[in-house]
């Protein structure tokens, strides 16, 4: 399946983009030691022509922010944090939803209607709003300072962002499982005497696995969107440093060069120097597009994959186990032998 994925154009484009971005970001930290160039005033023939924020030029491709730091470098350093944490959050979402989804799909699918209604709230509350509502007390500094240390805040944010999407995702996985449980081959397995766990592992798992990958990619895209939104509302990853100096209050600062922080930092300069905000947002957009490409590739590959899988699975097992004399009486004696020969050859 992996081989086929990389032969799919969409998946390859998406994967390459994210792979290159992450590699550059890691190189930036380990080889260039997080160096971020700073140009506060641009000179031309000895005369100052532009002060920071400097608009995009040929040698400063994406311009600089208010303090003169180059956007290109900040984006490159921040990429690994944003993408890394998004992957982590999406992964926790998937794992937790798998547990609840299996419980619901395998054991409580009878109460489908009521469970769906209970979780329906999540269809009327924007995720960003819920995240802001829950996370603001943890992440925005009050005059007395933060209650938690930096890493505690990061973990709280990761866990909360993961958990708020678990109920709807569990329902999604559960419904998919319930659908598979209603197939005829499950009845067959049950009649032969397979326990529910056995059926789950041997018969449902192979069908649900590709779906899980698709759900993972969808969650990844959603997480990226939520991170962008949170940065937009100045709730940065790992907390927002507020300055409470009554005379010279500094703008809210992001702690690392994480992308959502970059968006929030630049919001005040939107009308004067739009590139400070637009650059991180465009990178968010490109990454999300790349993830969607991967998702699309995954979808096409899994669709074809399932079609190939089916005949093999339904034919091989039963025939080998039935003894010779109990088999159907074939119309032509040779036909069965040929069939068995072919099967042995395959195994």
């Amino acid at each position: 399946m992996v081989k086929r994925l990389f032969k799919n154009g969409y998946f390859l484009i998406g994967f390459l983009f994210i792979f290159v971005l992450c590699s550059i970001s890691l190189l930036h930290t380990f080889v260039w030691d997080n160096h971020i160039a700073q140009t506060q005033i641009l000179y031309e023939n000895g005369r100052a022509v532009e002060g920071s924020p400097i608009s995009p030029k040929l040698d400063i491709p994406l311009g600089t922010n208010v303090l003169g730091f180059h956007m290109t470098h900040m984006i490159s350093v921040g990429a690994k944090y944003t993408i890394g944490f998004a992957v982590l959050i999406a992964f926790i979402r998937l794992l937790a939803s798998m547990v609840f989804g299996v419980l619901y799909g395998a054991y409580f699918f009878r109460f489908r209607k009521y469970v769906t209604w209970m979780v329906d709230v999540f269809n009327y509350v924007p995720v960003t709003l819920l995240a802001l509502f829950i996370l603001t007390p943890f992440l925005v500094e009050v005059p007395t300072g933060f209650d938690y240390t930096f890493w505690e805040r990061v973990w709280i944010e990761v866990i909360i962002l993961a958990l708020i999407a678990v109920p709807p995702t569990s329902i999604l996985i559960g419904n998919e499982m319930g659908r598979i449980f209603n197939h005829e081959f499950i009845d067959g397995a049950r009649v032969i005497g397979g326990s529910r766990l056995h059926i789950l592992w041997k018969h449902v798992k192979p069908h649900i696995q590709p779906q899980l990958w698709i759900i993972f990619m969808q969650q990844l895209v959603q997480t990226m969107l939520v991170l962008a939104h949170l940065g937009f509302f100045k709730v940065f990853f790992g907390g927002t440093n507020m300055s409470f100096d009554p005379l010279f209050a500094d703008p809210p600062q992001s702690i690392s060069y994480e992308w959502s922080g970059l968006i929030g930092d630049g919001m005040r300069h939107l009308t004067v120097s739009p590139w400070v905000v637009l650059v991180p947002i465009i990178f968010f957009a490109l990454t999300i597009l790349a993830m969607n490409f991967m998702l699309e590739g995954l979808k096409t590959v899994t669709e074809n994959w399932r079609v190939d899988l089916r005949p093999e699975r339904s034919v091989t097992q039963p025939i080998n186990q039935v003894s010779e004399d109990k088999q159907f009486i074939p119309l032509k004696q040779g036909a069965v032998q040929r069939r068995e020969l072919r099967l042995e050859h395959k195994e």
Binding site: D120, V121, Y124, P126, L129, F133, L225, A285, I288, N292
Partner: protein, 289 residues
Amino acid sequence: MRFFYNQVLRFACIVIGIVLMAGLPTLLPSGGSFHLNWMAYFQSIEEIISGLSHLQEVTYNTGGTERKLLTQLMSIGTYSVTIVVGAILLAFIAAAVLTFITMLLPPKWIRKIKVGTFILESIPDILIILICQLFVVWLYKKTGLLFFEIASLPGEPIYALPILCLSILPMIQYFKVMISIVEGELDKQYVELAKAKGVLQRKILLVHVLRNSLASLLNHSKTVIWFMLSNLLILEYIFNINGIMRFLLEYLNPVIFAWSLLAIFIPNFLLFAIGQWLLERSTNEKVVM
């Protein structure tokens, strides 16, 4: 009767869900500890329920003065709902017209258009809304024409630009879904029969396919509206609109959170319930909610 009973039950489930959700911030640990405060959670749920049952007495605090929530909620709520409903209607109609035009094109073009919508759909809402605002400002600088008011001032609500901005992404989503639904419908036998009888492609699309795809569209509308509410949050923030989402953000308090969510949810719910009822009566399609 059964339909009515089901809808009431569904409504009750969601209201309970909103109450439970509004209490969440008090449940979570605070003040440096890592324990869940169940006691505080139950207390805040009690508070929310009493707040829900006495709407007239709920107040909020702006700069030291207490104000009634109800009057505020009525004015900003109607404004936000107007924008949302306007945007969704615009998105729906625009998408329908685009779909109609697209389906009359040759298949090679349709495939290209599909890839295009796929890419457009991936653009985050922040980018689209920001670009809309910057574009209007740029246009004004270049030509001196101000087509729309770009920021709202107290007492002067703006409608045109927010509705337009809010409708872009839902339009793309609707368009994508409509194309796939219509393509599915066109493969069905009644279309072949109609073609064989010599009905024009235009008429098949407008009369038969449209009617038959309404049920799936209504199903899909739920996702679109959920997505739009998220957009609305960003939109009200950027355009400085005094709407319900901005109000919510300013006063992150459980009772206000619960009431504002209900104010958004109730019109939505009614719209869907009526739509579902009408559709199930007039067509044979079943709407799964």
